[in-house]
Amino acid sequence: MESSRGNIGWVFLLMAILLAVMLFSLAVGAVEIPIRRIFYLLTENCESPERAILLKVRLPRIFLGLGVGGGLAISGVILQGMLRNPLVEPYTLGISGGAALGVCLNIVLGGSAILGSLSTPLSGFLGALGVIFFVYTISSSRGGMRLSRLLLIGVMVSFMASSLIMLVMALSETRDLHGIIFWIMGSLEEPNPWLIKTALFVSVFGAVISFIYSADLNALSLGEEEAFHLGVRVERMKRIIFVIASVVTGCCVAVSGVIGFIGLVVPHLMRLLVGGDHRILVVASFISGAAFLILCDTVARIIIAPMELPVGVITGLVGGVLFIYALSRKDYSF
């Protein structure tokens, strides 16, 4: 159809922007590396400190940004689409709260003494899983999963988790407090390449599943009854969407902390740009979520170098400003 063909153009443009952002992120930093030299260093097998910076420092961050940014964005899109609520984001369902609580407990209880550096992501993921399981069980009844209930319970669990985090923080020592606060602020710095690969793999996998279900998501955005009449197996689909969004978000948060705003703002910006068709929306959101996070992380890295800002500061500020600007420019409703 004409409109969707026009929108595929947007996908290519966003792809180009993503590549440009990645190159920019490779080039800038404490050591500036000209772009032409980047290609040389990446293709030729030579020993040089610059090559080490690219491969060991900057590239892993970019890959993690790709996974986390893209993953949070598609989780936001599919949850907003399923719940038909524009204020939903991956963190609304309490997943981030659960992960943060897990990490908090881990830091205070000294889990790293037993498991080493893996204890943080592991405890984060376990916390997220716990919440997912809890929210899912409570909001499901014999008749199936009730979406309004899911949302309310998610919000309540979020509040409960943040109260518990406050409790843990009030009882913990200064040294631990520092660790907790830094983790909650979120960062793409992750020394373990295995974790980066896992996060990237999970979020790409989630994006593929979301894409496969994108036509059904379109049907569901008319309402559950309409979707049933279009042959969608509504209950099964709601479960799949919930699990995909939860696991992807859980993984992202476990590896990189609570990086806010991407799951809320990117889907809305993309809806303004490419419209409500999830078949394009999912792809566009993944690409632009990744580009947005990588860009914000790069800015956070260089703006007050050699110090680094928490990336959440940038995502919130830039995202908020962009979003308000876009809203005021165009007549937009969900």
Binding site: M1, A219, E225, E226, F228, G231, V232, G275
Partner: protein
């Protein structure tokens, strides 16, 4: 085509439909009439397979609708619900294309040539080709209902269930929709429509099904069903019935 056998249905423990037996034949055009709360919408939801009966069965072409696979069902039965609140962020063309989803395999997300041709056809059939790029929420009530009908037709159904297709429409759009539906019926599509306007039902439908308190009060032609005493009793009001001079069908007038 579609047959109800001793059907009991409702929500949770509440029973709305109490023992319905009914058959609509292939090519039929039946109107479901009855006061608010008499179970018309519930009956549509049960016939479409959305609700599972508490007792009894809905049989479509010899098969129990609740046992048919969802996609199979969506290729046979299309439902046009009361869509005044339709606010999905699609343009008309994208919206109508949703009607093709039942025909797509698990891994198909993009329309093929046949889908595009079909969307084209139903858009021109319903006279809204010129609106194809317009967002749904910018449409008027009448246009929206036409788009809704186009989407149902894109499913290429054998049976079309309409839940108050003319609600909130002006008389011009009411007639436009009903004429379209009758045309479709003439071409062989079986239709069951919930109608509030008894005169529209009289004018367009071969068979009227009068529901009251979850039971069928009367089934038959307009002349059989639209009887002063029956209507007065069921609706709890007073009306008088005259013959339309042109069609000689019964017409209902309220009296004070």
């Amino acid at each position: 085509m579609i047959k109800l056998e001793n059907l009991f249905c409702g929500y949770g423990k509440k029973t709305v439909l109490k023992g319905l037996n009914l058959e609509v034949r292939t090519g039929g055009f039946a109107a479901l009439i009855g006061p608010n709360g008499s179970g018309k919408t519930t009956l549509v939801r049960t016939m479409s397979g959305l609700l599972t009966p508490q007792k009894g069965k809905v049989i479509f072409d010899g098969k129990d609708v609740n046992k048919m696979p969802h996609k199979e069902l969506a290729k046979k039965i299309a439902v046009m619900t009361q869509a005044q609140t339709l606010t999905a962020p699609f343009c008309v063309e994208e919206f109508v294309l949703l009607g093709r989803i039942p025909y797509w395999g698990r891994f198909q997300v993009v329309e093929d040539k046949k889908d595009i041709e079909l969307v084209e056809r139903v858009l021109s059939r319903t006279g809204i080709s010129h609106l194809r790029q317009r967002p749904l929420k910018e449409l008027s009530g009448g246009e929206r209902q036409l788009a809704n009908l186009a989407r149902a037709l894109a499913q290429e159904p054998d049976l079309l269930l309409l839940d108050e297709p003319t609600a909130h429409l002006d008389i011009g759009h009411q007639v436009q929709i009903m004429d379209l539906v009758r045309d479709l019926n003439d071409k062989g599509l079986t239709i069951v429509a919930v109608l509030h306007d008894l005169n529209l039902a009289s004018l367009y439908c071969q068979k009227l099904i009068l529901l009251s308190d979850g039971k069928i009060q009367k089934v038959g032609s307009a002349t059989d069903v639209l009887e002063q005493e029956v209507i007065n009793k069921v609706y709890g009001t007073s009306i008088t019935i005259r013959q339309d001079p042109v069609t000689s069908l019964p017409f209902v007038f309220p009296v004070h």
